[in-house]
Subunit: 479 residues, 2 copies
């Protein structure tokens, strides 16, 4: 039989688990990012796959031999680049059960467990984050696991397009987009919104970049009001406003409640992209990240970033449970189903773009079960404490300066300059390269007002105060 | 620290592996599909998640207690519904390493190993399937792993829209869709194409359903030629033709080469959706499934259906490596990267809609490594042999009849009728219900020409001749 027997899997599974444990335990013996030339890994593969099977027991060491010098180690405690991508060992246990079930949760009936656990867990998490009850499945809305915040933004946009254009011509589902639809963002909004606008067929002209309030990186609600009024007056159709809580570059936030009020005046959809920061609402002192969300149509945050859950698990909540199915449902004969037609169940295929879907709620459930909300709060607070400490050290240091106010566990810094504008751009670029060249930490760069900035995003569960000290030594030695 | 230590993971991982092995070994003690009322599983969850952590060692039995009577067991050897969703134990080993790496392969530099293994494995698989060298990364095209064939179709459509509308007004990226774009399918094409057309903003009017050749369920190339000419003459823009190899309902195939020739006359994109059937090209005797693909722009097949690879792993190959990035790339400052700008690498974020991506190539690699091409061929041939045997028995049986020609491992059947039109619709519906009510097998239904049909899709690695005999007994006892 061309698969392992359960007993073969049992023996090999133990070996692979040991390999994973050894690999995690040994991460710090490796650089965070290997220095590798393009093509190195590909060159190690034969042109053709082998006809004969090879022993799987040797596979972990084969993978190590082929890729072990060509990795960027996202789980390394010195990884502070981009945003974290928590692949906690806790969540891997849930992932293992999910893979073993091999369920396809496209319809309720194709895996009632998959669907209902996802409903229950997203309801529990909505309450733990302090979201309004309207966002739960019991409250008329509901949560769904998407693969990424990019996909969450895209399906929110599609729901918004459908809602905005239910006109006598048959609306968006029949007619498609008209070229008049407009989506509102700022220059700080994640690029996935621009990608969603492009994918949905609106073109770059469909994306309106609204000004930020002077001196901030937050959307100016007056500027939004003016832009929407101008567009509506010109016969255009305001469809969606994206409010970000915790931008990728600097962690800035838009004023959700104020933007929601403006959007409501045009019956436009208000989507809140809190992909990174949203999970912090688990902690009372960070509950501000959901301020105003009670007025939004949808809210997204990613447990696969900073909530101990292996990629992919992006959470999207919508206020109206009918909104996504209304936009996305199409039912051919081979998917017709008595439970679906009863109206008593959720068919998650209508809440996302792909048809197939995994039992991803199991890994979130494993994390909630194994860590409890108290453990998740401790996880978040630990990183915020590291960032707060780093910010204090930077403020007290002559050669470094904060480039933006610290937000949660994200610090933006640069090399101090002698001029009146603050910062030394060349020194900042050089500092980032030299710090990363050590291999002991990995930071990433961005720009603020067109000038280079270094980002430090804490978030790895294995990162502790010793790693902060290490980072500080590396930074100050090279500044 | 709010995660398991490597040693805690080692101990728990062994327990979870054992739970998976036990669960697989015991599948046949359960019905394929539990009979469960909507809301049963949700009602077992507390309204709020617990603050305190609970022991993870108890998690597998908790999951079983909560969902164990509410499952549809896709890995059960009696599961012959829809198409198979192979979550082989072999691929779970690869998935475990992938989760542990926790790499984000959005850019080459964020995980060179993730990117280059995917390039190497998709190249190997392209050659193993007999695809033209142009579809490999070394041949100017390349393969990419999508989450599903739905997403593959959508990104192919976006690339086609971009290519079709590179006009002086700035094209699709700037202007969006115009309402003139047209996509060509048949009534047998998977509904994900209609969903892609909707998502891309073309509306239902953008989808042209071309007639099948009389007496077949295959697109008529003359009808396609006439439809495209009519549209072009009316000032519309033919953008993409979707040719299906192995439709979901009956396994029918469109004449790819003929359709490609027609599409080429309008410079329209030819996408081949062989989500289920395409993997059969690994076997010489089934190589016909890629006939004509050498003239296509893109080709999709899903190892997560019938090639022993746990969901999600849908393979998309494109002839032009620049096509997807040209349509999808957007680069904000925080994703700027020296390797990307060198042009020497592939950044897979530009080959898909989401930004983030897992190291999914590892599970494909594990399957190739552990089974070899010979094992994969044996897997496919085993199911085709079961289907061939079932078809022969149906032909020889008075109460059953084939409703369509068998294709690979898919059989469409119905209860025999006494009239001249063949089949008894009420008896067919009753038969499907009664067969599924046994719990020992699960079949799914569809329609052919508006009349009910029962589908049997073999594909589970654990399904053998004993299960065929069991199915046959159940079918004939109830016919």
């Amino acid at each position: 039989m061309p698969d392992l027997t359960p007993d073969e899997f049992r023996a090999l599974g133990h070996l692979f688990v040991d390999a994973v444990a050894d690999s995690r335990a040994g991460l710090e013996r490796h650089p965070v990012r290997d220095d590798v030339e393009p093509g190195t890994v590909r060159a190690r593969f034969d042109t053709h796959a082998a006809d004969a099977p090879s022993p799987l027991a040797a596979f972990p060491s084969l993978v190590e031999a082929v890729t072990g010098d060509a990795e960027t180690r996202w789980q390394h405690p010195g990884f502070h680049a981009f945003f974290p991508a928590n692949a906690s060992l806790t969540s891997l246990l849930g992932e293992l059960l999910s893979g073993a079930a091999g369920a396809q949760g496209m319809l309720w009936s194709t895996s009632p467990g998959c669907t209902e656990v996802e409903q229950a867990i997203t309801d529990q998490l909505a309450r733990a984050l302090g979201l309004a009850e309207e966002f739960t499945h019991t409250g008329g809305g509901g949560g769904v696991i998407q693969d990424s915040a990019s996909s969450a933004s895209l399906v929110a946009l599609l729901a918004a397009l459908h809602r905005a254009a239910s006109d006598p011509e048959g609306g968006w589902r029949a007619r498609g987009v008209t070229g008049r639809e407009r989506v509102y963002v700022t220059a700080e909004t994640h690029s996935s919104l621009a990608k969603a606008v492009r994918a949905a067929g609106l073109g770059a002209r469909g994306l309106r970049t609204v000004a930020c309030t002077p001196g901030t990186r937050s959307m100016d609600s007056d500027a939004l009001r003016a832009a929407m009024a101008q567009d509506a007056g010109a016969g255009l159709l305001p469809v969606l406003v994206c409010a970000t809580v915790g931008t990728t570059s600097t962690g800035a936030s838009d004023p959700v409640a104020a933007l929601a009020a403006v959007a409501a005046g045009h019956r436009a959809w208000l989507h809140v992209d809190a992909a990174w920061a949203g999970v912090a609402a688990l902690c009372d002192e960070h509950r501000w990240v959901i301020d105003g969300v009670e007025r939004a149509d949808s809210f997204c945050t990613d447990p696969h970033k900073w909530l101990l859950t292996a990629f992919d698990a992006s959470l999207l909540w919508v206020r109206d449970a009918a909104a996504l199915p209304a936009a996305l449902s199409i039912t051919p004969p081979y998917l017709r189903d008595a439970a679906s037609e009863s109206g008593a169940v959720v068919d998650y295929r209508d809440w996302q773009l792909p048809l197939g879907r995994r039992f991803r709620a199991l890994k979130l459930w494993a994390v909630l079960h194994g860590q409890g909300l108290s453990g998740l709060r401790a996880h978040l607070r630990g990183h915020v404490a590291l960032a707060t400490e780093l910010a204090e050290r930077i403020r007290a240091h002559d050669g470094l300066e904060l480039a933006a106010d610290p937000v949660l566990a994200l610090i933006c810094l640069r090399a101090s300059g002698t001029g009146s504008t603050g910062g030394d751009d060349d020194a900042t670029r050089t500092l980032l390269d030299r710090v990363n060249a050590t291999g002991r930490v990995l930071l990433s760069g961005t720009e603020i007002d067109g000038r280079p900035v270094i980002r430090v995003a804490f978030g790895n569960p294995a990162t502790g105060t010793g790693h902060l000290d290490d980072l500080w030594t590396i930074l100050t030695d090279r500044a």
